[in-house]
């Protein structure tokens, strides 16, 4: 069933790295944003500072991580719609390659890039972030990959409905970036107006934020089973929707 998956994944990874801005845009920009904002906001702070700003301690690392995830998702939406518009998906389908193999290869590429960017961010953070990075890195990486995977399925729904490649990136951005406002990262979900509160409860980003914040600050996985279940549910629902509405050409 997954015949050709690794070769396709490897080639797609190489192709992505050849994009002008491909590597720089997805890998360097989030890291630079993280460090620049961190140093600006956290000027003068040390790990021992009393009352270290919680945004610097948890919020910004989680925000930067989610930006990595969302930019991976947006890039996937764009790639899928370009491949569809250019007939690349159709050409790949006219081989023994299974459709799910094609999509899986792209998901793996995005997860690899997300993990690589996160790793770079953490390494850079250990040295240049004002308070350093003190988080369970392996667990946090796993949590981010799970979050990315769930958000990717939302991306597939968007990739299924955007009319042309030209609109893919803007439509994706318009859908994803406002999610940040209600996901509880800046304002606690409970203090949002009722409408936004309800909205935040159905967005995977909200659960991703809770999970990531928790894991970053050392929570056990067992305290976040609800968030994991919500992310998994989101994945299942969105995958089912996109399986129904996805167009190959």
């Amino acid at each position: 069933m997954l015949h050709g998956l690794w070769k396709l994944t490897w080639i797609e990874l190489k192709i992505f790295m050849r994009e002008p801005l491909g590597a720089i845009g997805t890998i360097l920009v989030p890291v630079v944003i993280f460090l620049v904002i961190g140093r600006t906001v956290g000027r003068g702070l040390t790990p021992q500072s009393v009352g270290v700003n919680s945004f610097v301690r948890v919020g910004l690392p989680v925000l930067a991580s989610l930006l990595i995830a969302v930019s991976a998702v947006l890039s996937l939406v764009t790639i899928i719609s370009i491949y569809r518009e250019g007939g690349i998906l159709k050409r790949l389908r006219a081989t023994p390659l299974r459709p799910q193999t094609i999509l899986t290869a792209h998901v793996i590429v995005k997860l690899i890039l997300t993990a690589a960017t996160l790793l770079l961010m953490i390494l850079a953070g250990k040295r240049y972030y004002p308070i350093g990075v003190h988080a369970p890195l392996f667990s946090f990486t796993v949590a981010l990959l799970i979050s990315t995977w769930s958000i990717l399925s939302v991306g597939f729904v968007i990739a299924s409905i955007v009319p042309t490649a030209r609109f893919a990136q803007p439509i994706g951005a318009v859908i994803f970036y406002p999610m940040f406002a209600v996901c509880g990262l800046f304002v606690p979900v409970t203090s949002l107006p009722p409408v936004f509160h309800a909205l935040s409860r159905v967005l995977p980003l909200t659960y991703a934020v809770r999970l990531l914040q928790g894991i970053w600050t050392g929570d056990l996985w067992s305290t976040h089973i609800g968030d994991l279940a919500a992310l998994a549910l989101g994945f299942v629902v969105c995958t089912a929707i996109s399986a129904k509405v996805f167009r190959w050409e």
Binding site: G4, R18, A94, T95, R98
Partner: protein
Amino acid sequence: MGSVIQVSKVRKTYGATVAVDEVSFEVQDGEIFGLIGPNGAGKTTTMECIEGLRKPDSGTISVLGLDPFRQVYKLQERIGVQLQQAQLQKRIKVWEAVDLWASLYRKNAVDGERLLEQLGLTDKRNAWFMNLSGGQKQRLFIALALINDPEVVFLDELTTGLDPQARRAIWELVRGIRERGKTVFLTTHLMEEAERLCDRVAIIEAGRIVDIDSPEKLVSRHCPERTVVLATDDPNAEERFRSIPGVEVENSGDGRFIICGRGEELVTEVIRCLSENRMRVTDFRTILPNLEDVFLKLTGHSIRE
């Protein structure tokens, strides 16, 4: 020689539009079979139904004894496909595409490097897809269609958009595919391409097959007209030509005549008339109808309209 593709009463609609209407034909083992017609006639839809990429609304298709839609993966292993207006990833290298395609098939692929060499792409093996010329892209797509040593090769509008020189080079390659014992099914809206390449053609118009046969037989069946254009200074020329049975003679002045008639015998008759009367001829041309004329006759309009 048996038939490798059997298409029977296939119908495909898109909403209210009937793209393919009760189409039936067979393709024989080892031949180059062409589906010809104007854009929008249903060529690509028919071909994609046969490739298993589309499901016909009704009718049956068998390719190498397989049902293309239900046994699509089994079929894909045994056929090679070139799609109309297909693209690859912009920055995939030529050798990577060939290498990837080779890995997708269960049976042993043919030697990709040798294939690139045969298609004249060896010096482009490290080039990105986006930097290839139109002809090079089409040659790469031919390579990808041949990588699994397929029994049937499908080529959809292979030379559209290519310059005449590249087109001729591609024709040679397609003849080479037949010489390797493979069956070729192609579509084209270029009558010259069909005439030079195809053993048999099916003319399709508005989703229906109008006629199927070899290009020569189609021409002699539907367009038996022959025309001889000649120039002579013989003063009695017109009278002598008019004595040939069943011809129309047009005297265009300056000793130039256009002699129209029907059937294979016309040219012989004209030459016999010239030699029996010892007429001096300064110009002699025959105008034979071609597939283009057949198409015009069968459909009432030119394929370019």
